[in-house]
């Protein structure tokens, strides 16, 4: 079961990577061939070493047009501090929320499976609150935001490895209808 899901995840990742390769191999005419081959080598190397979540995130969500699902932010193990990248994502999310001030969002805090359930519930809460507070500091109305922690109870990805854990240490933003 887990293996199947892992394979699915791997396939998705591969698909996304091949998408990127596709983009990089249709460059503007001015680009020279050496650069081209370097880029595809890079992409190949990434595919071979296992692709990090960051690679897919930045390139695969093109616009804010489909922001009914705002982008997740990710955390380090046992941390709820916001990375530079998380702050960047939150800035995008804040922009969307400010222009759609009627939208209400639940910020869900999640953890990877390691650690105690109780501590992880608290950690998930702290992650959700950190995200919420940052959004508020960027001018989002606190009334648009509520938080809930699911601790380690709702992993995004199954699997007992760092790649899966990294995807599970996250805050999600879900519109309330």
């Amino acid at each position: 079961m887990k293996a199947i899901q892992f394979i699915k995840v791997s396939l998705v990742v591969l698909f996304l990577v091949s998408g990127m390769i596709g983009c990089s191999t249709t460059p503007p005419v001015s680009q020279d061939t050496v650069g081209q081959s370097d880029m595809s080598q890079q992409a190949d190397a990434k595919a071979a070493t296992g692709v990090t979540e960051d690679t897919m995130k930045e390139e695969t969500v093109p616009t804010h047009a489909h922001m009914a699902n705002m982008e997740n932010i990710y955390f380090d193990f046992d941390q709820f501090t916001l990375s530079a990248e998380a702050r960047k994502t939150l800035a995008d999310n804040a922009m969307y929320l400010k222009t759609n001030s009627g939208t209400k969002v639940v910020v869900e805090g999640h953890c990877d499976e390691r650690g105690s359930d109780e501590y992880n519930l608290a950690l998930g809460e702290s992650r959700a609150l950190a995200a919420k507070n940052y959004l508020v500091s960027l001018g989002v109305s606190a009334k648009q935001l509520s938080v809930i922690s699911y601790g380690e109870e709702k992993p995004a990805v199954m699997g007992a490895n760092e790649a899966a854990w990294a995807k599970n240490r996250r805050a999600e933003f879900k519109a309330v209808h």
Partner: protein, 432 residues
């Protein structure tokens, strides 16, 4: 109600203990020495012969006594004809025969099955001094045979060590075998699992009230992690704390007057004491970090909990009355799930080392740390048996987490739940 079958009659304890003082068997802790025991299969006494009854009683008794670590079983293959003789009076037992086999203690018994009614009578003998140590008669129905055997195992430990066994108590845990995480209850050997909730949501971290009548747990049933209380016998259930944010890790105080729990209503997970009607009585922690997972000292004066106030998650102990808080653990970078032992002297917890969780115990003054598990996989959520002899925990070495039990020194580990679904977060009831 649960014990309606049990009419326990203490039998034949006529022998004065005074003359026997010199031969008392002294046991300081499980595993340190073992008593050679002849454990015979119980025999039918006039009523209907039922191998199922005899076998099941024997199976439970052997498993319980083996887990205790107190005994070395004399091989039943070597038993002589006294094992097949019914006589339960010490004058009827052929003690020299048992002596010959190396047994120092002997268990014999009979059962009487009449329709569905079952009477089991068990006796423990001191082979060396040729005397009855204890005996009891259990009256009930044939379905009660396991409970009778557990009760007899409890009695044997009490007779030999002065402290009753925990085998008649129960274990609450969380299992996803219905597809949702629900609260379950089982015997201490993993048998007779019973589902207690049907929330079809996420049910988490159960804990028994100190008298064993209720279980506290957290559920997302109302789309928020709220704390519930549930009466085990009536099934009656009510929300106890449902403030915005976390209402988790509820642990009832030893006097059952207060509940320690983690609330995040003020924007940060902190530990509070609330009354049993849910009103906040006291805030225990106040800092920027995470404070969670309280566990009461048996005297109800202190709680140990997890906090990352100094960077990494470590265990702390707070005095309920003065608020004075001291750090308990100094090693490792991730210490969690403290469980204060019933004797008050040690605290069990988990530590992450090399990317893996194992179970440790430590004295309440922070000394004498002992590691109990050594992988593979993660061993988590230790909880003590009510007598402090055993620790129950979850272990994921085979993929899914399952519930295991071991002796408090880390030996004798055995699995209690199936590997087909995920079982975790055990809590051991007090004695029923």
């Amino acid at each position: 109600m649960l014990l309606r079958w049990l009419v326990a009659v203490l039998l034949c304890l006529a022998l004065p203990h005074t003359v026997l003082a010199a031969t008392e068997i002294e046991i300081s802790s499980p595993g340190e020495q073992s008593i050679p025991l002849g454990l015979t299969k119980f025999l039918p006494d006039q009523g209907v012969r039922s191998d199922r009854i005899a076998d099941e009683f024997d199976e439970v008794l052997v498993a319980d006594l083996d887990l205790s670590g107190l005994f070395r079983f004399v091989d039943p293959q070597s038993f002589l004809d006294d094992a097949d003789r019914i006589g339960l009076f010490s004058t009827q037992v052929n003690f020299p025969q048992w002596r010959l086999l190396g047994a120092e203690t002997l268990i014999k018994g009979t059962y009487h099955l009449d329709g569905d009614n079952l009477v089991v009578e068990g006796r423990l003998f001191d082979v060396v001094n040729r005397r009855l140590l204890t005996g009891r008669r259990y009256v009930g129905q044939s379905k009660d045979v396991r409970r009778m055997a557990h009760a007899f195992a409890d009695l044997i430990l009490k007779e030999l060590t002065g402290e009753e066994g925990p085998f008649s108590s129960r274990i609450a845990y969380i299992s996803n075998q219905t597809g949702d995480k629900e609260l379950w209850l089982m015997d201490v050997d993993g048998k007779r699992p019973l589902r207690l909730t049907n929330h079809r949501s996420i049910v988490l971290n159960p804990d028994f009230s100190p008298r064993g009548k209720e279980i506290l747990f957290t559920s997302y049933r109302a789309n928020n992690p709220d704390l519930y209380r549930k009466e085990i016998y009536t099934g009656k259930e009510a929300k106890l704390s449902y403030k915005p944010g976390l209402n988790v890790a509820g642990r009832m105080s030893p006097d059952e007057r207060e509940v320690a729990l983690t609330l995040s209503k003020d924007g940060n997970p902190e530990i509070y004491l609330i009354s049993t009607s849910g009103r906040i009585r006291k805030r225990i922690t106040e800092n920027w970090g995470i404070d969670s997972d309280p566990s009461w000292s048996p005297d109800g004066e202190k709680i140990t909990f997890v906090s990352n106030r100094q960077g990494n998650p470590h265990l702390f102990i707070a005095d309920i009355f003065t608020g004075k808080t001291v750090r308990l653990t100094t090693r490792g970078k991730y210490n969690a799930t403290p469980a204060w032992g019933p004797k008050g002297d040690r605290i069990a917890f988990t530590r992450q080392e090399g990317g893996r969780f194992d179970i440790y115990t430590i004295k309440t003054d922070g000394t004498d740390e002992r590691r109990l598990t050594f992988g593979p996989g993660n061993s988590e959520h230790p909880r003590w048996s009510p007598d402090g002899r055993f620790i129950i925990y979850s272990w994921d070495k085979d993929g899914n987490r399952a519930i295991y039990v071991m002796r408090a020194d880390g030996t004798g580990s055995r699995r209690l739940t199936s590997l087909e679904s995920d079982s975790r977060h055990p809590a051991w009831s007090p004695r029923w």
